[in-house]
């Protein structure tokens, strides 16, 4: 097993799926000779040619619409939105079309597309190259939402997404692309969509998180264990829609304390639904109020490094919140 970066895992998953199934193709802005602005599709055009590695015009609604149509005709399109911040023009095609095609046709059509998009901040991307957009889709039945935190998860989940019968939004954290490394098997494997992963077991409190923030929480949990002897259970949700309620509730019932942490701003974030599920299903197991750790409700994170740092979650913040919760 070799150690790889998250973006290498993404690239491998794409190449292997394209080799496995001739119906799989990628489309998006600059995915061809440029290999994607983050190089996620590097080398694909050389191997699969420009028809299966399609540089589209600059038009996100088109990209998703074309993917929907191609999927109707039996293809397995993997669309790239260059930055998650630019997915908004495609929301009609995603929410009103892709998510509703199976339902509105009473099951006679389906929409097996994957929409990949780099998301997240801490990379000096400013208001429009740093956004987390998962919460904008979390309310939409018919969609699946996957956010991997490690190279292993990224590869196994992207393969699962491509083989899935329904539309999957696949968000990849930009800061994780090259800073997060991990073991990735050489053999073909898929990971189940809809299953959370306990990244660190612990008895004292439950931390629900996903994406890059998983790593901040793991780091904070290590410190909490070493310095304070408190054991946090870190649950990486991995799939945000549908949520793995079982894993979440089991952990909460065990620890009685729950913290939810994400990089996306607080109000109406994924943390809201998680807190609601716990408050509905496990209220009397709680020994402390639910805690959401999330950036403030500002429209997006700024470019200036002082302001960006003021927005971005930190290990320190996770550590303090966990400690306070454990001591409540």
């Amino acid at each position: 097993m070799a150690t790889k970066t998250l973006i290498e895992a993404v690239r491998e998953a794409l190449a292997e799926e394209m080799r496995r199934d001739p119906q799989v193709f990628v489309l998006g802005e600059d995915v061809g000779v440029r290999g994607g602005v983050f190089r996620a599709t590097q080398g694909l055009i050389e191997e699969f040619g420009p028809m299966r590695v399609l540089d589209t015009p600059l038009a996100e609604s088109l990209i998703v619409g074309v993917a929907i149509g191609a999927a109707a005709a039996g293809m397995r399109p993997v669309a790239e939105i260059q930055f998650a911040d630019f997915i908004h023009p495609a929301m009609d095609q995603i929410i009103n079309e892709a998510a509703k095609i199976r339902y509105r046709s009473n099951g006679s059509w389906s929409c097996p597309i994957v929409i990949r998009a780099p998301y997240g901040g801490g990379i000096h991307g400013a208001l429009y190259h740093s956004q987390s957009v998962e919460a904008l889709f979390h309310h939409v039945p018919g969609l699946k939402i996957v956010v991997p935190s490690t190279p292993y998860d990224a590869k196994g989940l992207l393969k699962a997404a491509i083989r899935d019968e329904d539309p999957v939004l696949f968000f990849e954290h930009k800061k994780a692309y090259r800073t997060v490394r991990g073991e990735v098997p050489d053999e073909d494997y898929v990971l189940p969509i809809g299953a959370a992963d306990v990244k660190r077991p612990g008895r004292d409190l439950t931390v629900l998180t996903y994406g890059y923030t998983v790593h901040l929480c793991l780091e904070a949990a290590r410190r909490l264990s070493e310095e304070d002897g408190i054991e946090a259970e870190i649950i990486d949700l991995r799939t945000l829609l549908p949520l793995d309620r079982k894993t979440v509730l089991e952990s909460v019932r065990k620890t009685g304390r729950v913290m939810i942490s994400h990089e996306d701003n607080k109000t109406g974030g994924i943390g809201a639904e998680l807190a609601a599920i716990v408050a509905e299903e496990a209220l009397f197991y709680l020994d402390a109020p639910i805690v959401r750790v999330a950036p403030p409700d500002v429209p997006a994170m700024p470019f200036n490094r002082v302001l960006e740092a003021a927005y971005m979650p930190t290990v320190e913040q996770q550590y303090e919140a966990m400690k306070n919760l454990a001591r409540f």
């Binding site: 193709f25 028809m51 299966r52 399609l54 589209t56 015009p57 038009a59 609604s61 088109l62 998703v64 619409g65 074309v66 993917a67 929907i68 149509g69 191609a70 999927a71 109707a72 005709a73 039996g74 293809m75 399109p77 023009p89 009609d92 095609q93 009103n96 079309e97 509703k100 095609i101 199976r102 339902y103 509105r104 046709s105 009473n106 099951g107 006679s108 059509w109 389906s110 039945p141 018919g142 699946k144 899935d164 019968e165 329904d166």
Partner: protein, 329 residues
Amino acid sequence: MDNRHAALGLSDADVLAMYEKILLTRMVDERTWILNRMGRAPFLVSAQGQEACQVGAAWALRPGIDWALPYYRDLGVVLTLGMTAKDYMLGLLAKAEDPSSGGRQMPSHWSFPPLKIFTGSSPVATQLPQAAGIAYAIRLRGEDAVVYVSFGEGSASKGDAHEAMNFAAVHRLPVIFFCENNRYAISVPQEKQMAVDNVADRAAGYGFPGVTVDGMDPLEVYRVMREAVDRAKSGQGPTLIEAKVYRLAPHSSDDDDRAYRPQEEVEEWRARDGLPRFRRYLMELGLLTEETDRRLREQLAAEVDAAVEYAEKAPDPVPADLLRHVYGQ
């Protein structure tokens, strides 16, 4: 009267069959209004005034081979491709057996996989990028099918229409963009929608032909469609066809068109209605007589009766169906 259809390679049987579809479309539509006024059908959108262009267009397609993404007025298209009055009535009354959506969507939101009629929604123009996507798949796999996608002139104002036409041009995709210009988007007249006379004039800016055609003449529509299909199949790319038509009825059963257009205008267009015009053409050529026409109408009326009867008796979905088909398996 000249025989215009022979020159187009259409047999007498063909044009009679086309007439039958135009007539069926009109009769189904008229019946729908009656059902609606009687309180037996809650909602409808009407095809009246656009049937001739719809049947002319669909006649150039190979059902089950070519793809169709018809918009909500395209009753004539789907009946020509092979959906039936019964299929339509099941959708009108939103019954469980409705092949388009099992009663989930509004009437006239077509879907029929065996005929490659792809499911459509209410938000307009979303089908154009999807049609381009299907055409891209066809091109990628080297198939010979073409894609028909239709929309109103109002919907041509949407960004999706632009993005799709431009993309189809870049890849010379086998798509026919078929615009049924009935001069209104609900109440908004063409002059408030665009500053040009023809939607078709936009095609040049993408790099493919745009043609306007009298949408009340099914043979002319068939002719330009055939040319477009031939272009598409021979790798020459898309065509934008704009059929000049008129919506003879209100926008939908919820609309009152007297608020926004003079009834003289409606009557003026009614005088050009494609159905009686085509009927006259067939009669003058001796292909149709008052007698054969009457018999045909009786036969179609019986078909529509049977469809209504069947659909009215057909069961509703059950409440538990609400939860089905959100995701696969």
